[in-house]
C-alpha cells in the first residue's frame, strides 16, 4: 500500500486550499440556518422626527406622544438653515410643525393646514410617516364624529393605533409539506459549486503529482503491478472523496438535524452522491489533460464558477436566459440543480420521482461519457509516449 500511503501524505500536505472552501461553505450554511429561524425578527422602522408645537394644547401634546411611540424625537434647532441642514445630513427624516389652532381645527372637523411638514420628497420614510399621521388624524375625526371630545378622541386614536400585531416570519418548512426548507435546499444546491471547487483544487494536484512523467516511469520500473498501482491510486481518490462527502453531510446533519434524514433529505443526499461521482470524473479528465500545477487553480475557478452560473446554482434556473439554459443543459451540474429543485419543489418544479431519477440518470450518463473520454485520452497519450 506504499502508493496509497504516499497519496495520503501528499493529500495531507495539500489539504489547506480544500479546507478553506469547506470551512467557508459550512460557515455560510450555519449563518443561513440561523437567519432563517422562525423566531420573531420583525420590527417597525423608527424615524427621526423633529416636532415644533405652536398650538401647545392637550390635543397637540397627544400628537407628540403618538409620534414618540413609533419614532424618535430629535432636536435640530428652529432656524430654516438648521432644519435644511438636518434634512440634508439625515439627522431628521421629517420636520413637523403643529400649527397654531390645531386643536380648534380638529374640533371643527377640518383636516387641512393642521401641520407644516418638511421632508425629502419621495422617500420611503416620508411616505411612511405621512401614512401614519393621516391614519391618526382620520381616527381622531372618527372618534370626534361619534361624539368624543378632541382630547379623548386623541387619546383613543393614539392607543388604538399603537396596538402591535404580532409578526411571525413564514418558514416554508419542510417535513410537514414534504419538500426541503430553504436553508437545506440552498445547502444542497451550492454543493454543485463546492464539490467542483474542492475536488479540482484538492484532488487534481495530487493526481498530477503522483502521475508526473518521471514519477510514473520510476514506479513503472518497480515490481508493483500496473493494476495494483491503479487500485491504490483509486483507493486514495475514493478516501478523499468519501471524506469530503462525510464532512459535508455531517455538517448538514448538525445544521438540519432530522430534515436531512426525511425522505426528501435522503433523496438530496443520493443526488449529492451522484454529483460527487460526476465531479470525480471531471477531475480525472483534467488530470489526464495534465495541465501545469500552477494552472489548476485557474481551471478550477473557470469550471466551478462557470458551471455554477450556467447551471443555475447562483442564479435560479427559471431566470436563466434561453441560450444560457440550453448551454447549461450540456453540463452535469444543470441536472443536479434541477433534481434539487424537484426535491425542494423550488423554482417552479413539482416533485415527481420519475423526473428526479431521470435527472440522476442524465448525471450518471455524463459521468460515464467523461470517464470514457478520459480513458481514450490517457490511452492515446500512452501510445504516443511509447
Amino acid at each position: 500500500m506504499k502508493i496509497f500511503n504516499a497519496f495520503m501524505k501528499v493529500l495531507l500536505k495539500r489539504l489547506n486550499s480544500s479546507l478553506i472552501y469547506v470551512v467557508i461553505f459550512i460557515s455560510i450554511g450555519f449563518a443561513m440556518t440561523k437567519s432563517s429561524s422562525s423566531e420573531k425578527e420583525y420590527e417597525n422602522v423608527r424615524l427621526n422626527i423633529s416636532v415644533t408645537d405652536l398650538d401647545d394644547t392637550a390635543a397637540s401634546r397627544e400628537v407628540i406622544e403618538f409620534i414618540k411611540k413609533g419614532s424618535d424625537l430629535v432636536d435640530i434647532g428652529s432656524s430654516r438653515e438648521e432644519q435644511t441642514d438636518a434634512l440634508y445630513y439625515q439627522k431628521a427624516d421629517v420636520i413637523l410643525t403643529i400649527e397654531k389652532g390645531f386643536s380648534d381645527r380638529l374640533k371643527s372637523g377640518e383636516t387641512e393646514e393642521l401641520f407644516k411638514e418638511y421632508s425629502v420628497p419621495g422617500t420611503y420614510s416620508t411616505e411612511l410617516f405621512d401614512s401614519q399621521l393621516n391614519r391618526y388624524i382620520n381616527m381622531i375625526n372618527v372618534y370626534i364624529s361619534s361624539g368624543e371630545t378632541v382630547e379623548t378622541a386623541s387619546q383613543k386614536a393614539s392607543s388604538a393605533l399603537s396596538a402591535e400585531v404580532e409578526t411571525i416570519m413564514y418558514n416554508d418548512n419542510n417535513s410537514e409539506n414534504n419538500t426541503l426548507s430553504k436553508p437545506i435546499y440552498f445547502f444542497f444546491k451550492y454543493l454543485a459549486y463546492i464539490f467542483t471547487a474542492v475536488l479540482t483544487t484538492g484532488l487534481c494536484p495530487i493526481i498530477l503529482a503522483m502521475n508526473k512523467k518521471k514519477i510514473r516511469m520510476r514506479v513503472n520500473c518497480s515490481s508493483i503491478t500496473t493494476n495494483n498501482q491503479l487500485l491504490q491510486t483509486t483507493l486514495g481518490t475514493l478516501v478523499f472523496v468519501a471524506g469530503l462527502f462525510l464532512v459535508i453531510m455531517t455538517a448538514a446533519a448538525i445544521l438540519y438535524k432530522s430534515e436531512l434524514f426525511s425522505s426528501h433529505g435522503l433523496l438530496a443526499m443520493l443526488n449529492a452522491i451522484v454529483l460527487i461521482i460526476v465531479t470525480m470524473t471531471i477531475c480525472l479528465l483534467i488530470s489526464v489533460l495534465a495541465p501545469t500545477e500552477k494552472s489548476i487553480s485557474m481551471i478550477s475557478n473557470v469550471i466551478s464558477l462557470g458551471m455554477s452560473f450556467l447551471c443555475g446554482v447562483f442564479v435560479p434556473q427559471n431566470l436563466l436566459g434561453n441560450s444560457a439554459a440550453n448551454l447549461g443543459k450540456l453540463l452535469p451540474a444543470f441536472w443536479y440543480v434541477k433534481a434539487t429543485n424537484i426535491i425542494g419543489e423550488k423554482e417552479g418544479e413539482v416533485f415527481s420521482s420519475e423526473s428526479f431519477f431521470s435527472c440522476l440518470a442524465v448525471q450518471l450518463a455524463f459521468a460515464a461519457a467523461i470517464f470514457a473520454v478520459s480513458l481514450v485520452i490517457a490511452k492515446n497519450k500512452r501510445q504516443s509516449r511509447s
Binding site: 504516499a6 513503472n220 520500473c221
Partner: protein
C-alpha cells in the same frame, strides 16, 4: 568469464521517420560497471527505457538475468535499481519519506525496509537532511537523494542514466565513488553518460553509441587500441616555418601536424620516443618553444577517429 546479466540483441526503435536505435547489440556481464557512452541524442536513454520496458521497441530481443524482459516481468524488475536522468522524487515528501516510498515499492517487510532506508541514507551521506523537503536541497544533494531512492532496496543490477548532469565537481566525485562502492558490494552497474572522463574513470567496459548503434565496445584500453593515434604532442610555439613542419612530418611515427592559436599539435601512431624526436628537431634548428604536453589517446579521440566528429561538437549541435 562471468555470467551475462543483460543481453540486448538487434534492438530497433523507431519514432516515425527517426530511427533512435538501429540494431543495437550489447552484452553486460555480472560484476561489471558498464559504460554507455555517446553524445546527446545518440540513443542512450532510449536504450535504457527499452531495457526497462518503459518503451515498446520495433525489433530485437532483451534478456535480463537470462529471462526475456517484458513490461510484466515483475520478478526481474524486483532486482533492478533505476536512477533516472531527471530527479524523480515527490516534492511533498521529505528525504526520508521519499527513500522509504521508493524502497517500499520493492520491499514489503517494514523492519527490513527501515534498515535498508537507513543504509541508503548513510551510503549517500544524507543523514543531516532526512527531514528536508526536496525543494530545500541543493542540486548535488537532490542527485544523491535520487540515487538513494534507486538503490535503497539493494538491487543486483543498477542502471544510472546520466546521474551527474548539472552536479558540482565535489558532488560528482562523491557520486562516482559511491557507484564504485556499490559495484564492490556486488551490484552490476550500467552507467550512461556523455562525460568521457567519468566513463573512463569508473567503467570496466564501455560501449560507444552513435545514431542508435554501438560503434565500439570493449575496455578503455581495447577501445584505444582500435584507433591509429597513440600519442598527441602539443607544443607552445611562434608560427613554425614549413621546413620545420616537413621535418616533423617526416618522423617515422608522426602522421599528422597542425598549427593553431600558437599551438603545434603532432599526432603519432606507435613509437616509444616520439616526444624526444620532435624536441630534437627544435633543438637542432635552435627554435625556442614554451610548454610541451604529451597526451595518450582519450575516448574522445576514439569517437573522433571512428565517427569523424568530436563528441563535444555533437553535444553542442
Amino acid at each position: 568469464m562471468s555470467d551475462t546479466i543483460v543481453k540486448i540483441e538487434n534492438l530497433v526503435k523507431r519514432y516515425k521517420e527517426l530511427t533512435a536505435l538501429d540494431h543495437l547489440n550489447i552484452e553486460i556481464r555480472e560484476g561489471e560497471i558498464f559504460g554507455l557512452l555517446g553524445p546527446n541524442g545518440s540513443g542512450k536513454t532510449t536504450a535504457i527505457n527499452c531495457l526497462l520496458s518503459l518503451l515498446n521497441y520495433d525489433k530485437g530481443n532483451i534478456e535480463i538475468f537470462g529471462k526475456k524482459m517484458t513490461p510484466t516481468s515483475y520478478d526481474i524488475k524486483q532486482q533492478i535499481g533505476v536512477i533516472m536522468q531527471d530527479v524523480a522524487v515527490l516534492e511533498e515528501l521529505t528525504v526520508f519519506e521519499n527513500i522509504d516510498f521508493f524502497c517500499g515499492l520493492y520491499i514489503k517487510d517494514k523492519k527490513k525496509r527501515k534498515q535498508y532506508v537507513q543504509d541508503a541514507i548513510e551510503f549517500t551521506g544524507l543523514e543531516d537532511f532526512v527531514k528536508f523537503y526536496p525543494k530545500k536541497l541543493s542540486g548535488g544533494l537532490l542527485r544523491r537523494l535520487n540515487i538513494a531512492c534507486g538503490i535503497a532496496h539493494k538491487p543486483r543490477l543498477i542502471i544510472l542514466d546520466e546521474p551527474t548532469v548539472a552536479v558540482d565537481p565535489q558532488s560528482r566525485n562523491r557520486i562516482l565513488e559511491g557507484i564504485q562502492e556499490l559495484n564492490h558490494n556486488g551490484a552490476t552497474i550500467i552507467y550512461t553518460s556523455h562525460y568521457m572522463e567519468e566513463v573512463e574513470q569508473i567503467c570496466t567496459r564501455i560501449a560507444i553509441i552513435d545514431k542508435g548503434t554501438n560503434i565500439a565496445i570493449g575496455t578503455k584500453d581495447e577501445l584505444k587500441k582500435m584507433i591509429h593515434n597513440t600519442e598527441t604532442i602539443t607544443i607552445e610555439i611562434t608560427e613554425p616555418d614549413s621546413r620545420i613542419l616537413s621535418k616533423i612530418n617526416s618522423l617515422k611515427h608522426v602522421y599528422n601536424t597542425a598549427f593553431s592559436d600558437g599551438l603545434l599539435t603532432v599526432k603519432c601512431s606507435g613509437g616509444a620516443h616520439n616526444l624526444i624526436d620532435v624536441l630534437a628537431i627544435f633543438k637542432e634548428n635552435d627554435i625556442s618553444f614554451g610548454r610541451v604536453y604529451s597526451e595518450l589517446p582519450t575516448l574522445n579521440d576514439v569517437f573522433l577517429e571512428i565517427t569523424g566528429k568530436e563528441m563535444r561538437d555533437t553535444e553542442v549541435q
